[in-house]
Amino acid sequence: MRDTRDRATVDVRDPRVVEAIGRYWRHNVRIMAGLLVIWAAAGLGCGVLFADVLNQYRLGGFPLGFWFAQQGSILVFVLLILIYATLLNRLDAQHHVELERIRRTAPGDSQP
């Protein structure tokens, strides 16, 4: 019954747990929204919408808009997922610690 471990030991009706879960989710959505803005800006923004403007500038031998469309955006995408995985896995760990603390300070095992 590995899959129900957390549910069994943490009381989901405990307001502190409800609050912790809410906080976790809001934090998650904030990270996600921020990264998606960068995603859109790098790919659809620099790579497509502003490509003609950016092409006036050069990056080494590359016109900048062209570089974003064929190289830069892909590099940004890889980095974005790396950042997301790191941040979220850390957030998961913090959330675990928090749930653990709530469980330890719970007023007895026999909840009403």
Binding site: D3, L49, F62, V78, I81
Partner: protein, 613 residues
């Protein structure tokens, strides 16, 4: 050793390796068959996802496509990689937490409707079959070009190999075979790219070489390409938005490809195979990292080969032309119909005065005898000074066969860079690896859609484990045969339909899954209405403009990009209808809550527990 002998050796060795892996990974239960027992490490799953994703088209055709389109080719690069960000952030961890076998599983359970499940099953099967037909054709083409066997024989050999390792090992066998296939295909892609970069710019990193100056005249490669394109009447290589690719169309195609990538069932299902939610996130990172190895190199190969092709062909006499030109001329991928001056001229369509003087063409779908007839008539036309015969150039130009076939870019790069015969053979093995890995992943989606979603979840929910495994194996066997037949007798529309599969995936699955994960309010009716509106509009628009001659009335957006509009329509319809209909049941709300808190490794909903691994 000749190139052909090397090719036989490499192909035989790699196939033997795939079969060995399949034998070592054979499975005995449905969990192993569909999701590899959820025991695949993140990096290995990422590598398998990358091989699954990079098809024969990515490997053989994409560089050529970029080479022809220049800047506009970037929409494929951005679209097919940007989708992974959506997948990693919006879908993968939550679907892993949900913990079922397939995408229709999620749609059916989240929206508590077998009708919704059925719509998802039909979409999954349609998308997978259009895709897999192209892969099987790719296998046949690689065989026929490198080993000079008949395309049909090539397809049958490919079918036999996939049949054995997919039925034996299911997802587990496929995953570990794909890891091996990734290494074959990426090695085969990188070696020629590095070699041609070094030859032209003295840079060993192709991505840097692309932005460097040419050794020949110390002008930056891209500036030189722009110059050559302007002189010869081609669209500028680096300038964006040349007709017909205006900004809106490039935007819509890029977005449709991104969202479509995130909605493709054979990619999503890979994230069910890892151990935990954290591993699903890392897996998405590894997948894109491994994919980017090819996708960052492809535009470099494209630019190098483009420059090299123009330089070594235009204005040259038959004796001066390089050897690779004569080798590939036999295959019909590149043709030369001279105007009588004995020098090859290669012009683009942009300059109306130069276009009729172009002498470089491709055979396209024309048969060998038809091509020979055209060449003979052209020769008679030349010899008689225009009195008899026919000008082959006008003939081929009116059939839209100007310029070489795009596949030649990757296939001939090793020869352009004067690499040894065994590397040419490696490219053949790489092309086969790319086609087989994608085909096997798609076949598993078809098998799970029919055997799990349709048979077990809808028709016979009390089926025993052993019975379901047999059904799964039978379906995958049948699917291999159907895919092979589609490869041998390709319906004319396959190549177009593959591009549209993305539009349909974008307009159907993506909004339903995203809203299903992030909203506790969206109920069955609005989601279904949204999916039907999205698919209906997109499919209607595509069929209308490709077959019905319908003008692109929706702001001039072409059929390739219309999936973006279909997706927006899907979201709009669903969200507008949501307040009017009841939300999901309490059980589903609880399910969504559990998915939202992805800190636990186990499945959110208890599925029948298969034997532990």
């Amino acid at each position: 050793m000749s190139v052909k002998a090397w090719t036989f050796l490499f192909v035989a060795l790699s196939f033997a390796g795939y079969l060995l892996i399949a034998w070592l990974c054979r499975v005995r239960d449905t969990s192993g068959f569909y999701v590899a027992g959820r025991g695949v490490p993140a990096a290995a799953n990422g590598m398998a996802t990358a091989a699954d994703w990079m098809s024969a088209a990515s490997f053989i055709s994409m560089s050529g496509l970029i080479s022809t389109l220049g800047y506009t080719g970037g929409m494929y690069l951005m679209g097919w990689t940007g989708g992974y960000v959506l997948l990693a952030l919006l879908l993968a961890p939550y679907l892993r937490k949900f913990g079922h076998y397939t995408v229709p599983d999620f749609v059916g359970d989240r929206y508590e409707s077998n009708a919704a499940r059925l719509v998802a099953v039909v979409c999954a099967i349609f998308v997978s079959f259009t895709y897999v037909a192209g892969q099987m054709r790719g296998v046949g083409i690689v065989f026929s070009r490198f080993l000079e066997v008949d395309i049909t024989v090539g397809v049958v050999i490919g079918m036999a190999i996939v049949f054995v390792y997919a039925t034996l090992g299911g997802m587990k066998g496929i995953t570990w075979t794909q890891v091996a296939q990734y290494w074959v295909l990426i090695t085969a892609f990188l070696i020629p790219a590095v070699a041609i970069s070094f030859k032209l710019t003295g840079q060993v990193v192709p991505q840097l070489g692309m932005g460097s100056a040419l050794l020949a005249d110390s002008v930056p490669l891209l500036s030189k390409l722009d110059q050559l394109h302007a002189d010869l009447g081609f669209a500028s290589y680096t300038e964006p938005f040349t007709e017909p690719w205006n900004k809106l169309n490039v935007f819509c195609v890029t977005l449709a490809l991104m969202v479509g990538t995130a909605g493709l069932p054979h990619v999503i299902v890979r994230f069910y195979t890892v151990k935990s939610v954290a591993a699903a996130r890392w897996s998405a990172f590894w997948a894109l990292l491994f994919i980017s190895a090819l996708y960052l190199t492809a535009p470099a190969t494209a630019a190098f080969a483009r420059y090299y092709m123009i330089e070594s062909l235009h204005g040259k006499s038959a004796a001066e032309l390089p050897e690779w030109f004569h080798n590939w001329r036999r295959t019909g991928l590149i043709l030369w119909l001279d105007d009588g001056d004995g020098r090859l001229a290669y012009y683009g369509e942009r300059d109306a005065s130069l276009a009729p003087r172009n002498e470089v063409f491709r055979g396209g779908a024309l048969g060998a005898t038809e091509l020979a007839d055209i060449e003979v008539a052209h020769q008679r036309w030349l010899d008689s000074g225009g009195a008899v015969g026919a000008d082959g150039r006008t003939l081929l130009r009116t059939r839209n066969l100007s310029g070489p076939d795009q596949d030649i870019i990757v296939l001939a790069t090793p020869e352009m860079a004067n690499l040894a015969g065994w590397i040419v053979a490696l490219v053949a093995a790489g092309g086969l690896a790319a086609a087989l890995s994608t085909a096997s992943g798609l076949l598993l989606v078809i098998s799970s859609s029919v055997a799990h979603d349709l048979y077990y979840r809808i028709i016979n929910p009390v089926a025993a484990e052993a019975q379901r495994l047999v059904i799964g194996r039978v379906v995958i066997g049948l699917a291999v045969v159907v895919a092979g037949l589609l490869g041998i007798f390709p319906p004319g529309f396959v190549s177009q339909v593959v591009a549209f599969a993305f539009g349909l995936a974008a307009a159907s699955f993506f909004p339903a899954i995203v809203l299903g994960i992030f909203s506790k309010r969206v109920g069955t009716v609005p989601a279904m209405a949204g999916m039907i509106a999205g698919i209906g509009f997109t499919a209607g628009y595509i069929v209308g403009s490709v077959y019905g001659g319908m003008p692109s009335w929706c702001f001039g957006i072409g059929p390739q990009g219309i999936g973006s509009v279909g997706m927006a329509l899907n979201f709009t319809v669903t969200l507008l209808l949501t307040p009017l209909f009841p939300g999901p049941s309490q059980a589903v709300c609880d399910l969504i809550e559990t998915i939202h808190e992805p800190e636990d490794a186990g499945p959110a909903v208890r599925i029948e527990v298969a034997a532990e691994h």
